[in-house]
Structure formats: structure tokens, C-alpha cells
């Protein structure tokens, strides 16, 4: 079944220089297993193709039922030089929650 991440997980994002980082959190172990299987670096790179110019990094944290995601080259050179309204990448987490995956 196809589901949007917003219905099964939660997320927060922030900035460091030109890097946008996101935490994606599962409410339980079963959902965490689905996230680990479906939310791959390749899938993330496709999802954020219009935003991130650099590599996507992914770090699973089993004890926290969480995925740490780093989008390199995603903030137009960094918050203080960017012309974007969301210069700090705060809404990237919302954009992530729009991703649709097979559950």
C-alpha cells in the first residue's frame, strides 16, 4: 500500500552552512523497518533533486528508531547569503513528509 510519510512518521530539519540536515522518526519498530527499507539515499536524491545539488547521506539509528539524513549543497550556499524565504531549511522536513512510499 502506498502511504505518505506524514501519515506514519515525523521529522525536523535545520541548517549548517550549505547543508540541510533532517531527522526522520518512526513511532514503532515495524514502521522503522519500513522506513529503513524504503527511504534510501537514491530515493531521497530523487525526491530532493530540485533542492540538493550534492550527495545525500543517510545514517540509521536503530536505538532511536530514526534516520538521519544530510542533503549537501541544499541551501543556496548557506542561510546568510541565500535569497530563499526558507533560508534555514526548516521546511525541508515538511517536504520530506510528502514522500510516498510502499508500506
Amino acid at each position: 500500500m502506498k502511504r505518505k510519510l506524514v501519515d506514519i512518521a515525523h521529522a525536523r530539519s535545520g541548517d549548517k552552512g550549505d547543508r540541510c540536515d533532517l531527522g526522520l522518526f518512526a513511532p514503532d519498530a515495524a514502521t522503522y523497518a519500513v522506513l529503513k527499507r524504503e527511504v534510501t539515499p537514491e530515493r531521497l536524491a530523487r525526491h530532493f533533486a530540485g533542492m540538493a545539488s550534492g550527495a545525500v547521506e543517510l545514517y540509521p539509528l536503530d536505538k532511536l528508531l530514526a534516520l538521519k539524513i544530510v542533503l549537501n549543497g541544499a541551501l543556496s550556499g548557506g542561510a546568510a547569503r541565500s535569497l530563499r524565504s526558507d533560508n534555514l531549511g526548516k521546511c525541508a522536513a515538511a517536504a520530506l513528509l510528502r514522500m510516498e512510499i510502499d508500506t
Binding site: I8, H10, P27, G50, L83, S85, A95
Partner: protein, 462 residues
């Protein structure tokens, strides 16, 4: 006497944050120390502009009103403060605070930590063998050297510990690792050794959970599940997070009774991973933390136990972040209503671009957003109902090296009110250009920075 546990509380999470919740932490949260983070990556640029206008400025101006409000309560409860509100001028911050406290006859020992500012030592550092190349990609610093506005090394907790050992009630610093504001009182109280990596890692975890004020206790809780943001109680009276830390480094994150917000497994882990890159190597000047071994236990009643931090030896080098002048931005915003709001906004964008070309106004970048449609989600905005939007604001921004060229940009808009597409409203006006800032992260040997660190103490109303 062996100290069993220490309670440290969150102060501000950025320059401009509210200190009202801090009063609740002092009054009924049982805290002994407040760590207050006033410096985001770009805050030093704001302070640099202040200091150019007035050499006695350059610290965050919220310091004096904040402590004027909180000090009587803090003194009554024996609470000490560690604040990086010194910004580019910790001594100026101290002078302003001392003057205010003396005026009121308030007694306090106020310490400053200096030595983080290296803008005047860039050439000396390079002569000592540090290339100061960009941390990502290794670009040479020469490309930005002449445009550099500030450069500060992130100091660790040790100088703050020295200030507490000297008896300081209030410690004012410039740039330090945010978490050092919380780690320092733990090292000071528990006597943790400088190479006790696991305990230092535990203290760093505590600091990281507290350094963003309400984000550690249910603020900005980005969840739309059953226990999501709408179920977080009374954000209007949020309690900032408090950590009850034991001598072995385990901690319980909580908040003051009768405050809003929520401390649970979800709100704490959202903050734990916030602005972290590799969670297995979270760098600070004092220790490198592996978050992979951390265990969070929800004890209920707004209490979450944090244990299991593991640390690796501190890095050989300290991080410097410098800021350089990266041109100017000119911006204009103009709104359109239904029907065809988006079509009209797009037509205006095309006319503006045509005008710029005809007038030979060449900008380094032209950035377009449609407020109400894609200004926050960018390319991930859903455009399926775009023709039905009630209203859309066109926001265009340009980048230019020359300030006057940036300022010329909003002047392209006013005529469109009467001679462009219909229903133009809500024009933002001819706003002044905004300076843009590039950040230059780099590394430097400790022995070139640490000998220059100074801790000094001054007493008020003696």
C-alpha cells in the same frame, strides 16, 4: 561532600528569543545553572555591523534587559548564568552589565572569556602554517580574505570552567560551542577529567538537548501523527527544557511544573538529531560524541532519561567560522487575487525580467518565489490546484555585488500597480538592500588559539 546531581536549564536559543520561560525554570524548576545561547552562525554578522557603528557595541543587546529581569530571582535561588551574549565584544557586554548592576546596587561576580576572535590574527595563523582552507572542498582563503568581516574560533568548556572556579555568578563569552555553556557547569561540579570521554560525551548530549530552548520541550514539534504538534499543551506558556544530571553523566530531561510544552521520547529525539551531521561523530572542542549508543527512556510526566553516551577523544583542531561580504540582495513583493492569481503573478515576473534585460540591469542571480504557493516548499510544492488559489504574492529577489544595483531592483515595480496585470496589491515598497554574507568554516591548531584565551572577573556593588 560528593555532589549527586546538578540541574541545568535552558536559557535563550537565539538572539531575540524569549526569557519569560527562564523565570519559571528558576522559580520552580530547581535549576542551579542557566546556559543561554545567543549566537547562531550568522548572528556575529549582525553584531559586526553594530560594532562598526559603535565600538562599545558588538554584543547581543538582549543581555542587559534579560539579566535585569532575571537576576533578583536568580540571586534569591542561587542560580548562575553562562551566556555567549558577549558576541564580538564580551568586555563591552560586561561593562554594560556592570554599569547596570552598580546603578541598582546589585552584587554579582561577572566573568568574561575572550580569545575566540581571530580576525586580526588571520595572517599570523597562516604564517604559523595553517592554510585556513574551506572545510568543505578546500578552497583557498585568498578568494575571500579582503572581504572578511569576522572570524571566530569555537572555544570549548574549559575556560568557562575556570571562570566558575574563580567564583563567577555570570560568565560572558564570545563564540564557544553552544553545548559548552551547559557542559562547563557539569565539569565544574562533578570534577570530570578532561579525558573522561564518555562523561564529557554525556554532558555534550545534555548541552545539545538544551541549546535550542523550547525546541527541546515540544516547540517546533514537526509531527502530524496522533500525538503531533496540535496535542502539545499550552505553547503560549512553554517551559524550556531542564536537565537533572547525575555524576556518571546520565540525565533526566524535564521542565518546570505548571508550564506548557511537552518532554517525551518524540520531542527529545527530534531535538537530539537537530543540526547534526554524522551522528556517530558529533564534534565539539571537548569531545566527539557517538549518538548511536544513546538510550532514551520515556519515564512519563514530562521526564525522559538519557544514558549510554560514548565519547571519542577531542579533535586535534578547533573550528573557526569566518563571515565575508558576499554582495547585496534587493527584494520586492507584490500580490494578486483570484481569479487567475498565479497567472497574473507569473505575467508580472515576465514583465520585470524583460525590463531588467532592456535596461541592462545585470544581476548575479534572480530568484522568484510565489508566496502562498511555493516560497517554503520550493520545487516540492504541489501545483495541482494552482489555478484556484485565492491569492498569490510574487516575491522576487536579486543578488548583486554593488549595493546601488541591488537597491535599483524594487524600483522596477511601482508602475505595475496601474499599468500591469489587474488586482496588484500589497506592494512591499522600496526596501533598502540587505547585505549578504558568506560563511567560511575552517580548522586551526589548538596551540595557536588556546594560549590567547583569557578569563577575567569583575565584581559589582562591592
Amino acid at each position: 561532600m560528593v555532589v549527586k546531581s546538578i540541574r541545568v536549564g535552558a536559557g535563550l536559543g537565539f538572539y531575540g528569543d524569549s526569557w519569560r520561560p527562564v523565570a519559571a525554570s528558576i522559580e520552580r524548576g530547581g535549576v542551579q545553572y542557566i546556559g543561554s545561547d545567543h549566537l547562531a552562525e550568522l548572528t556575529l554578522a549582525i553584531l559586526q555591523k553594530d560594532r562598526q557603528r559603535d565600538p562599545s557595541a558588538g554584543y547581543t543587546r538582549d543581555l542587559v534587559p534579560m539579566l535585569t529581569t532575571l537576576w533578583p530571582l536568580a540571586q534569591q535561588h542561587g542560580v548562575k548564568f553562562l551566556l555567549n551574549a558577549g558576541g564580538l565584544n564580551p568586555e563591552g557586554a560586561r561593562d554594560a552589565l556592570v554599569a547596570e548592576f552598580n546603578k541598582r546596587g546589585w552584587q554579582a561576580k561577572i566573568a568574561t572569556v575572550t580569545g575566540d576572535a581571530v580576525i586580526d590574527r588571520i595572517d599570523a595563523l597562516r604564517a604559523a602554517g595553517e592554510p585556513l582552507a574551506h572545510l568543505d572542498g578546500g578552497a583557498a582563503i585568498d578568494s575571500v580574505r579582503e572581504r572578511m568581516l569576522f572570524a571566530n574560533a569555537y572555544l570549548g568548556a574549559q575556560p568557562l570552567v575556570r571562570a566558575l572556579e574563580a567564583g563567577a555568578d555570570i560568565v560572558l563569552t564570545g563564540r564557544v560551542a553552544d553545548a559548552a555553556l551547559f557542559l562547563a557547569p557539569l565539569i565544574h561540579e562533578f570534577g570530570w577529567a578532561a579525558d573522561d570521554w564518555n562523561r564529557l560525551a554525556a554532558g555534550l548530549t545534555v548541552g545539545h538537548l538544551l541549546e535550542c530552548s523550547g525546541q527541546g520541550s515540544g516547540g517546533n514539534f514537526n509531527s502530524y501523527l496522533g500525538n503531533g504538534w496540535e496535542s502539545v499543551p499550552d505553547l503560549g506558556h512553554i517551559g524550556y527544557p531542564i536537565a537533572e544530571v547525575s555524576a556518571d553523566g546520565t540525565a533526566v530531561i524535564t521542565k518546570a511544573p505548571d508550564t506548557g510544552g511537552r518532554v517525551d521520547f518524540d520531542t527529545v529525539r527530534q531535538q537530539l538529531l537537530y543540526e547534526v551531521h554524522n551522528p556517530h561523530a558529533y564534534y565539539s572542542p571537548d569531545v566527539v560524541l557517538d549518538m548511536g549508543t544513546l538510550k532514551l527512556e520515556d519515564l512519563g510526566g514530562d521526564r525522559v532519561r538519557v544514558s549510554g553516551a560514548t565519547g571519542q577523544p577531542r579533535p586535534e583542531k578547533l573550528k573557526i567560522v569566518a563571515g565575508f561580504d558576499d554582495g547585496w540582495a534587493g527584494t520586492a513583493t507584490i500580490g494578486y487575487s483570484w481569479p487567475g492569481a498565479m497567472k497574473k503573478a507569473r505575467a508580472t515576473e515576465a514583465i520585470v525580467r524583460q525590463q531588467l534585460a532592456e535596461a541592462k540591469l545585470a544581476y548575479d542571480e534572480i530568484h522568484t518565489e510565489f508566496l502562498g504557493f511555493n516560497s517554503l516548499l520550493g520545487t516540492l510544492a504541489d501545483d495541482s490546484r494552482i489555478e484556484e488559489l485565492n491569492e498569490v504574492y510574487l516575491k522576487m529577489s536579486v543578488r548583486a555585488k554593488d549595493r546601488r544595483l541591488a537597491e535599483a531592483f524594487p524600483r522596477q515595480f511601482p508602475w505595475l500597480a496601474l499599468s500591469g496585470p489587474p488586482t496588484a496589491s500589497g506592494f512591499s515598497g522600496i526596501e533598502p538592500a540587505r547585505q549578504l554574507l558568506g560563511l567560511w568554516p575552517t580548522l586551526v591548531r589548538r596551540d595557536l588559539i588556546e594560549p590567547e584565551i583569557k578569563v577575567s572577573l569583575q565584581e559589582t556593588a562591592q
